[in-house]
Amino acid sequence: MIGKKTPLRDGLDRLVDALVEDILSTPDKDILAELKECGGDPARNAAEMRAFFERSIVAANKHRLAQARAGAARNRKRRVGGPVDIAQARQRLRAILDSAGGPQGLTLAARKESELSDSDIVSMLDDLYELGAFPPKDDEEEGEKEN
C-alpha cells in the first residue's frame, strides 16, 4: 500500500496475500472460467503472456550484458585507474618485452617501446594484463617492494 505502515494497512496487505493464495489454489477450469466471464480468451491471454515473457527475456539479457560491460569497465578502470606514471609504465612494458619468458607473438613494432605513444603504452599494458602476460597483483607487489 502507498503510505506509512500502520496496523490497518498491514491488515489490507494480509487480505491481499489471502486473495493471492486463493488465486494460486483455484482449479484450472475455474480460473479459466473466471477469465472467460470477464470477456477474456484463455488461449489469447496465454499467447500474449508468452510474448510478454519472451520480451522480458530479451530485457533480462540486455540487463545482464549491461552489467557485464559495467563490470568490465570497472575492472579496466581499477587496473588503469588513477593518474598513470608513464615512465613507470614504459619501464614495466620494457621489462615485460625484455624478459626471457615474455609474451610470445608480439610484433617487432611493439617491441620498440620507445616509439610508442603514451596511450599506446597504457593500452598495451592493459591488453597484456587481459592476456595474462603479467599477474593481476603486479602493481601491488611492486608497490610493496618499493615501500
Binding site: M1, I2, G3, K4, K5, T6, L8, R9, D10, G11, L12, D13, R14, L15, V16, D17, A18, L19, V20, D22, I23, L24, S25, T26, D28, K29, D30, I31, L32, E34, L35, G40, P42, A43, N45, A46, M49, R50, F52, F53, R55, S56, I57, A59, A60, H63, R64
Partner: protein, 191 residues
C-alpha cells in the same frame, strides 16, 4: 555451492523452460496475481509482472520443488512491498540553486519516520477501505468474519475454527470472497 544445493535449485534455463511451458490457466493466474499485488501500490501490473520475470531470471533461486507460478507470485509480492517502501521513504529533493537558502532547505528534508499527522491520514485511508470491504459482506456474517479475521492476522485454521467451516467449505467461502472483491474493485483499491 555444494552439489546437493545446486541440484535442488533450478538453473536459469530451467526457469525459462518452466515458464515457457506454463498452461493457459497458469498464465491467467499470473495476470490476476500481478493485478492483485499492484492494488494501491505505485506500480502497474505489467511492470510488476516483468520485474517478477527479471528477478526470477537474474537474481532469485527457484527451488525445484517450488511451483514456478508460486515462485513468480512471491517475487511479485516482494517487489510490490519494496515499491511501497520506496514510496514511503522517498525524500523530496530541492535544488539549492532554486531555494536561495541552501542551509535551511538542505536540512529541511522530510523525516522518513511517520509523524502523528501522516500516521493518522494513512490510518484513515486504510480504515475507509477496510469499512468498504467489510460492507460488501454485510449480509454474510461468515464471509465478513473471514475477511475481518484475515486482516487481524488469524490463521486459516483459526478462521475455520471461528466459523465452524471444514477445509472445503472454507476454501469455497474464501473463493466467494475473492470474487466478490474482484467485482467490486476490478482496478484495485486506491487509498
Amino acid at each position: 555451492m555444494n552439489s546437493a544445493l545446486a541440484s535442488a535449485t533450478r538453473s536459469r534455463d530451467e526457469i525459462v523452460d518452466a515458464i515457457r511451458n506454463l498452461m493457459p490457466a497458469d498464465w491467467a493466474r499470473l495476470r490476476k496475481v500481478a493485478h492483485r499485488y499492484s492494488f494501491g501500490r505505485p506500480i502497474e501490473p505489467d511492470d510488476l509482472l516483468q520485474e517478477g520475470f527479471l528477478r526470477a531470471l537474474d537474481s532469485r533461486k527457484c527451488p525445484k520443488h517450488v511451483d514456478v507460478v508460486k515462485f513468480l507470485a512471491e517475487a511479485m509480492r516482494s517487489i510490490a512491498h519494496g515499491e511501497a517502501e520506496k514510496a514511503e521513504y522517498r525524500l523530496t529533493l530541492v535544488s539549492i540553486d532554486k531555494t536561495g537558502d541552501e542551509q535551511n532547505q538542505a536540512l529541511d528534508h522530510k523525516d522518513p519516520d511517520p509523524n502523528s499527522e501522516e500516521t493518522m491520514v494513512s490510518e484513515q485511508d486504510a480504515a475507509l477501505i477496510r469499512t468498504a470491504l467489510l460492507a460488501l459482506f454485510d449480509d454474510d456474517a461468515i464471509a465478513r468474519d473471514i475477511v475481518e479475521g484475515t486482516m487481524e492476522d488469524l490463521s486459516a485454521e483459526e478462521l475455520r475454527e471461528l466459523t465452524g467451516l471444514d477445509k472445503t467449505a472454507y476454501d469455497s467461502k474464501r473463493r466467494f470472497i475473492r470474487r466478490t472483491i474482484d467485482k467490486a474493485y476490478p482496478e484495485g483499491w486506491k487509498p
